[in-house]
């Protein structure tokens, strides 16, 4: 136990003694030494006090920012699960869609959008399916509180919706592209400062009412809470084979994930009111250039 050049026990031996992991022989030797050595006895007592010292540190509280971040991440996972029972997929034959490459949002919102957008673009190169998130602005949630900004978007959307109703073909024709091209092009156009894809703003009168976004970063905070209030719409897609994920509403906008199978084609997604089956908003998915 003791060593010629140092008659004392080592701190490690004392700690092992305390933890009860010494062999019986070593334990006896250490106890013997402790009986005659005040210095080691003192250290032993201090070691014995460490667990209480550590336990005395109050538990940290979960910061609200982290709590909501976790909520968001789980909401994004929920939305990612392809279970959209209220979504009409008649125009989009249901096949097993590829799941989007998984990335979690983190860092500040601004940074996060940009980083994830880039990550999604990179990952999409190896993905066969087209996965796009479609924002349909200004959808009436029936009593959900909306910011004044969302209210403004509502008006634009109403106009766009009536335009769509009259002239669903009025949207700019989009070229068909392969899924890989599609994903890369869209993401390279993504403008985090504007929260959308500049390539879509060239559509006449649509930039206020329709925003395309993609990737997990397209789920801002509050999805989980807002999603409970809104399910009253039917989505149909034309020009693409695939199906929609669950429909969620955020700040007066609807968000649904469109997962396409096979070669991706530019698509038009239209939301119809569940009350009267009138089209209420539309968005285009595809390369708008």
């Amino acid at each position: 136990m003791s060593r010629p050049d140092n008659p004392h026990t080592t701190t490690e031996q004392l700690a092992d003694l305390l933890e009860g992991v010494l062999t019986p022989a070593d334990e006896e030797a250490a106890q013997d030494h402790l009986r005659g050595c005040d210095a080691c006895r003192t250290d032993y007592d201090l070691l014995a006090g460490l667990p209480a010292l550590l336990a005395s540190v109050p538990a940290p509280e979960l910061p609200p920012a982290v709590a909501s971040r976790l909520d968001d991440a789980i909401a994004a996972e929920d939305a990612r699960r392809d279970t959209g029972p209220r979504v009409d997929t008649s125009a989009a034959p249901s096949r097993s869609p590829r799941r989007e490459p998984r990335r979690e949002p983190r860092r500040s919102d601004r940074t996060r959008r940009w980083l994830v957008g880039v990550a999604a673009a990179a990952a999409a190169v190896v993905s066969v399916g087209l996965v796009g998130d479609v924002w349909l602005s200004g959808f009436d949630q029936g009593g959900a509180s909306e910011s004044s900004e969302a209210g403004g978007a509502s008006e634009g959307s109403a106009k766009a919706a009536s335009d769509d109703a009259r002239s669903p073909r009025g949207l700019a024709a989009l070229p068909s592209v392969g899924s890989e091209t599609f994903a890369a092009d869209v993401d390279s156009l993504y403008d985090p400062a504007r929260g959308g894809f500049p390539g879509t703003s060239g559509l006449p009168d649509k930039d206020k009412s329709v925003t395309l976004a993609r990737g997990p970063d397209a789920y801002p905070g509050q999805v989980r809470r807002a999603a409970r209030g809104c399910t009253a719409a039917t989505l149909r897609a034309s020009g693409v084979d695939g199906r929609f994920g669950p429909l969620v509403a955020v700040d007066g906008r609807l968000l649904a994930r469109l997962a396409a199978t096979g070669p991706a084609r530019a698509a038009t997604v239209t939301a119809y009111s569940c009350r009267d089956q009138e089209p209420i908003a539309a968005a285009q998915v595809g390369n708008a250039r």
Partner: protein, 218 residues
């Protein structure tokens, strides 16, 4: 009146069956404690939040593989602890100053001998509590990740050695050994703060490795 809340296992089953709310309930129930483990293991709030999020997302996706042989809370903690350990190991590779895993130096009769005694231990001020907390956290930072995690679980969070072994996926003997080594490494750093130790005033707690301004975020 609210109905009785479903238990953890029921929530996992509902989640696997497609219930969009179930996992959120589960997380809400356990996240405070999971956060404490993550933050104390990693110290950096951003890293801890990243680790916790990664772990929870992983649990969300892996829920089908939960076999029910351990408590749900153990299962969740295990995923979080492993995510934190992975990150902590990378942290300690980036830094290079943590204490040796197997220190074999004979102990000096600690630093407390060089430190003048305070006038009284009877009353601990708020500032002193805060200084003590900072000293503990900074000292933990200096430990190798495995020792730190073991002490966080056993000494700070109050898990039994058996529970900690389950969470860290290692034998109980390994947990004991890590706790023992960890405490031995902490003694020179924290001995003066332990009951019976002597310390200087709060304006100058023990010098500790790592960044002294780092604090647990509350």
């Amino acid at each position: 009146m609210r109905g009785e809340q479903p238990d953890d296992r029921t929530l996992v089953q509902r989640h696997v069956a497609g219930d969009a709310e179930a996992f959120g309930w589960l997380v809400a129930r356990h996240r405070d404690r999971l956060w404490a483990v993550a933050l104390r293991t990693l110290h950096d709030p951003d890293e801890a939040a990243d680790a916790l999020q990664d772990a929870l997302v992983s649990a969300f996706r892996r829920a089908e593989s939960y076999r029910g042989d351990a408590a749900v809370t153990t299962w969740l903690h295990r995923i979080v602890v492993n995510a934190c350990l992975d990150r902590a190991r990378r942290q300690s590779v980036r830094r290079t100053e943590p204490l040796a895993d197997e220190p074999d130096q004979a102990h000096e009769h600690t630093r407390r001998a060089q430190i003048p005694a305070t006038t009284s231990d009877a009353v601990e001020t708020l500032a002193e509590q805060s200084a003590r907390r900072d000293a503990v956290l900074a000292a933990l930072r200096a430990l190798p990740p495995e020792q730190r995690t073991a002490l966080v679980l056993v000494d700070m969070e109050g898990y039994s050695v058996q529970e900690a072994a389950d969470l860290m996926d290692c034998p109980t003997g390994t947990v004991k050994s890590r706790c023992s080594r960890g405490r031995a490494n902490l003694l020179p750093l924290l001995g003066a703060w332990a009951p019976g130790g002597h310390r200087v005033g709060v304006t100058e707690p023990l010098s500790t490795p790592g960044r002294p301004t780092d604090k647990e975020v509350t």
